[in-house]
Symmetry: C2
Subunit: 477 residues, 2 copies
Amino acid sequence: MAKLTPRDVDFNEWYNTLVLRADMAEHGPVRGTMIVKPYGWSLWENLQAGLDRRFKETGHQNAGFPLFIPESFIKREAAHVEGFAPELAVVTHAGGEKLEEPLVVRPTSETIIGYAFSKWAQSYRDLPILINLWNSVVRWELRTKLFIRSTEFYWQEGHTAHATAEEADFETRQMLDIYADFSINDAAIPVIAGEKTESERFAGANQTFTVEAMMGDRRGLQAGTSHNLGQNFAKAFDIRYLDQNNERQYCWTTSWGLSTRFIGAIIMVHGDDQGLVMPPRLAPHQTVIVPIFRNDDEKTMVMEPVSRIKQELADRGIRVKVDDREHVTPGFKFNDWELRGVPIRIEVGPRDVAKGTVAIARRDIPGREGKQFVAQEGLTAIVEQILDDIHQAMYEKAKQFLEDHTHRPKDYDSFKEAIGDGFARVWWDGTTQEELQIKEETGATIRCLPLDKPEGNGICFYTGRKTDKVAMFGRGY
Amino acid sequence: MAKLTPRDVDFNEWYNTLVLRADMAEHGPVRGTMIVKPYGWSLWENLQAGLDRRFKETGHQNAGFPLFIPESFIKREAAHVEGFAPELAVVTHAGGEKLEEPLVVRPTSETIIGYAFSKWAQSYRDLPILINLWNSVVRWELRTKLFIRSTEFYWQEGHTAHATAEEADFETRQMLDIYADFSINDAAIPVIAGEKTESERFAGANQTFTVEAMMGDRRGLQAGTSHNLGQNFAKAFDIRYLDQNNERQYCWTTSWGLSTRFIGAIIMVHGDDQGLVMPPRLAPHQTVIVPIFRNDDEKTMVMEPVSRIKQELADRGIRVKVDDREHVTPGFKFNDWELRGVPIRIEVGPRDVAKGTVAIARRDIPGREGKQFVAQEGLTAIVEQILDDIHQAMYEKAKQFLEDHTHRPKDYDSFKEAIGDGFARVWWDGTTQEELQIKEETGATIRCLPLDKPEGNGICFYTGRKTDKVAMFGRGY
């Protein structure tokens, strides 16, 4: 099989080829739709498990909301309709007849959630309402890219209603923290948590927070967002409750989401010229065992320890696969699993059996350096340790990359240079108009206003004015 | 709160009220759509886990397929389009423009799966393909009922492709067995496994198998179906592979599904006049602990063992909830959890604390008979045992009910009487025409031709002819 186009030569080509070749996803028959293949879906299931556990630990419950939303709902919140109207898919006919009111295929569920919450929130005792939906949504996009931008994508959308502004603010930030924690500790992706500027805000939100990551081509990608919706949707959908003084009050609501886009981030942050590099805690297969034999005698000899090792690893909860295909060579299998990014490859051949050892190869360290021979005895503990080491090494590498390509320019010229290489972290005092001007001239947008910023003031690189605001600029996906 | 309408008085009213009052689901704003509330969704998640484990153990993998299918796809398989055309929802506009080809919102995914399988199945080495989708589908229904029939419902749809007819037959029956095993061992619902007659067959299948259950009103409900699609979809979508002799062959495909309808079955099989009765292995909460106290001193005294017991149960993997609401009485809580069908209620009051005991009440045995006082020491093992006992008792009760209301009439008059009471299991030699005639006259359809039937022959109750076929008739949902 031909080598992948190196990332340096054409990152986009590298990505598109890799997604297809690693059996992650392919294009559906309808333009812009995506078929997520079992290998890609298995990664998504592991993402779901990691997030779902965190959501439930913080008191959220899952629910199921309809796909179809009356068109009139979308129009009730002024900013919301403006943001989403151009992207809607509309059902006009059903059951062989024209519908009286067209139905929108949900682009996001704030409006239909508003409809339900207005019934569910009667008294202060009903609050907070903390729910989450795992579903797919549809946004008609012209330029699509598997996982990154598709007309239908999978995600979770959390929706909550609270009695006070403080609680809604706490929830918005808590969920942002959860996304950051998940990125770092499950996906080995360093992120910058911050607020979006007005121009990048969710349609209908008072504040949008984001965790931003840097891809291998040094572009930014929004990995998860958390929105403080204030009372905007509560007023549009009459979400009110009786407080302890028996007075009707509007609720404060939030929403937050992370999508299959995150799979694109995993590919683009960790992948190398040989293929995917799966973060161990999310990898569909954490370990693949390749038995090596040239004849039936050797096969019998090798398969006994292979089966035993597989069982021992599986018993400890390690996701392990034995590649016992007979019509391809071990070399083919090595390349195949390298392409698919399995963190650890274990090879067992007749010589290993004789010595009671196996060969272990780390995906994140290519060639001999990443290879070691270890005893079969006690292998499970070693594999667990190596998986942790790989996670840590992948995180450190991505963090170093992010830092190496994050600059602190003091003027517009060095800013342009910085943007050519990655992110520019700057003192910022510009207007929305100036932000758009910079975008037009450099292709860079404000990825976020980082929450973690120094005290005090600095000079805005663009306006020259003194400011206490810091912005992270970068070209984005 | 008013009592539920007793099932004997109006089963339909009992069901509809219970679903709403127990916070399982409610109607969405678009006619026929359903909002599954957190309590109902939690039950669905437990169903999903039980099925998903079985699917994966038998080698199936999950994937994600698009919601939108080109309208032309639906038309490729003649029987399929005839069956589904009247129920389709159609997207005609998207992104502000009229689409060149309308898009169908999937009513089921055989056609788009056919599109993908035709690319995935190249060689005999690619077979079998064994995948499953967890998603929602849309069928425009006129008469809807929460969980039982809605325009959008949640389900899993399995899709497989095989090299031989034998393998497809094995798969079809294997998945039927899995549905039966799940019904019996997870949901405590006895089922009759059998084949559907031609008139009830899936549109496009050669054979449809079903597991049928009897609801509390003695009507039948199809709890899961498994279809042998023969080469129908393979021919319509050109799903072909190169066999070992390098010759192109059509695949043999299957599909199989179980939906949120199954939640309706759980409600209607096990529920009683007091409310839901959740089967312990699927129950959102397997145990609820109600602390009982009249003042702060008693509260302090009671909450210590309550927290400890909760932790002990949770550590053993028991889904346990402490109801520590302070604005409602213990009596209110007892009724509330009875309505919601929690299998075991544990009460802890000051006297229990003094004695080192708790009171345990079984949901499936009302009143004093179902109540016992046990020591706090060793409670977890007792709770585990009682959960198993409840499962067994619920299954036996449902099985006895099914048997009590299954009759073996020998002629049409006694057949009509039997149908008035439940199912009629009969020798059957009629035609499709005669089957429809019987439906018109009695409201009964052939639920299935049971796979488990006696050897030899008998006399058809309707035609008087000798036959070796057995049919199970009943009124259905």
